[in-house]
Amino acid sequence: MSLETSSSLGRDAWLRLRANRMSMISLFILIGIAFVSIFGPALSSYDYDQQNLDRVFESPGKDHIFGTDNLGRDLFARTTYGGRISLAVGLLATVVSLVIGVSYGMFSGYIGGRIDTWMMRAVDVLYALPFTIFVILLMVLFGRNFLLLFIAIGAVEWLTMARITRAQTMNLKKSEFIEAARALGYSHGRILFRHLLPNLIGPIIVYATLTVPAVMLLEAVLSFLGLGIQAPMSSWGSLIKEGAEKMDAAPWLLLFPGIFFCLSLFALNFLGDGLRDALDPKSSKD
């Protein structure tokens, strides 16, 4: 168990991460995708919503490197534009869910006893609120709003995070190093954040890398139900959904957004694994 200061912990982690080749490649891929998503729409000579009804369903070629869709819109412009939305939704909602879920789960698991039972039953009750109804209620009460979408998704995703964190906390609570910290008379806050949190980071990061794609897909399902982003805006999820409907006639409509989507998920995943190893205090002993 390490009692190092956090700054050196961070530096060690960075060094360990740099040594992991897959993670570094993933990091560069993610940066690349983010770059293309931010600057791609400006680089393209077409707007994401610019139509040309005479050139619909064109396969990838010189003018349109990714081809065109059913209204003759440039798929490159739409894919990169969609990237902005999907990445923003995915990251922001995940951060929201992490902050809520981890603190809730850790607190509940650490305190234990009756408070823990009630906190977990509250989570169960929230689980029982079907997501669509929750989102429709939000949309009806507050109107359509992009920010609301993040909150809605984040507010739902934290529940599983809380359960996982809590189970892990319960598991670690009885470990020797926590007992030792307690015996040394450290405050609860210090135990929670200095000792418990670093040991939780593994499962949390892995689950977070799973949450990002889940959120992106959720956004697609919301678009599927007509509750997501408004047409003619695009997101990877909605593009993939449209592409799936036309996959035998115009496979590129599924292929390109799909590649971007998968590539980001792969990269996130390997980066997540790398981070897990790098941040794991125990791995320093190996």
């Binding site: 169960d124 529940l159 892995v206 799936a244």
Partner: protein
């Protein structure tokens, strides 16, 4: 994929005169004060009566749920079975052979499983196994041969999650002192996994199982829509869209009881698996 408007552009654009609306509302008791409505609902609930559905005229909510639940349960159990049988072995293998191709391959496949949302995977599987090979029916829920494609579509998605959680959990426990001790004592890797590491390693999976299973058996709207399956998922979504209040309350209550039951089971299972958690009880 779905034309969402009930009946599409055709019907119900007839405006309902105000006096008729009042009649409709009084029929369902919507004109009474909210608190009275609530009391009445609770009273009926105690008798197991969830009230009539607004959307499916002539049908009781409890009757509709009772018909659809066995369908969703079958689909859910099969999918979960597929998810566990694929996910757990893949996750264990990846953890044991960390950073080798035996790790990268199943983990990449599992990522691919997550990348392929059900509305892509479903039509894809139909195209291969039904349209091209003619092995399974493309839709419906009439016999066991209809079960394969939907449960596989749903199962693969969950298998991906299970594999990743298993791997993470296994890596965690393989570093625990008691596992190291067992290893140091010269236990075979097989024995280390089955006797010592697996219990702890499956902990995140077990935690995940409760909500996942509740989600599975309460139906999946997308799968039901693609494969034309009369399951529960559709009721959840359409009830909200149609303002079918009794159906919303009915499905929510049903789902809530299911979730609480499953989470209790998960807690018990956790206690049984994890010796440390057991001590605390």
């Amino acid at each position: 994929m779905t034309r969402y408007a009930p009946g599409g552009p055709f019907d119900a654009e007839k405006a309902i005169p105000q006096e008729i609306k009042v009649k409709l509302e009084s029929h369902f008791g919507l004109d009474r004060p909210l608190f009275d409505q609530y009391l009445l609902y609770l009273k009926n609930l105690l008798r197991g009566d969830l009230g009539p559905s607004f959307k499916y005229s002539g049908w009781e909510v409890s009757e509709l749920i009772a018909t659809a639940f066995p369908v969703s349960l079958t689909l859910g159990v099969l999918s979960l079975g597929i998810a566990l049988f694929i996910g757990i072995p893949a996750g264990i293998m990846a953890a044991l052979r960390k950073n080798t191709w035996l790790d990268y391959l199943p983990m990449s496949l599992s990522m691919a499983g997550i990348c392929l949302p059900t509305f892509v995977l479903g039509p894809l599987l139909i195209y291969i196994f039904s349209t091209q090979l003619g092995l399974f029916p493309p839709l419906g829920w009439y016999g066991p041969s209809d079960w394969f494609l939907p449960s596989f579509t749903l199962g693969l998605f969950y298998a991906a999650y299970v594999a990743r959680l298993t791997r993470a959990g296994m890596l965690e426990t393989l570093q625990q002192d008691y596992v190291r001790t067992a290893r140091a004592k010269g236990a075979t890797p097989w024995r280390v996994v089955t006797r010592h590491a697996l219990r702890g390693g499956l902990l995140p999976v077990v935690t995940y199982l409760g909500p996942a299973f509740a989600g599975l058996v309460s139906g999946s709207f997308v799968i039901e829509s693609i494969f034309f399956i009369p399951g529960l998922g559709k009721f959840f979504v359409t009830a909200a869209f149609n303002r079918d209040y009794t159906m919303v309350l009915g499905t929510v209550l049903f789902y809530a009881s299911l979730i609480i039951l499953l989470n209790l089971l998960v807690d018990l299972l956790q206690a049984w698996i994890d010796p440390k958690a057991r001590q605390t009880r």
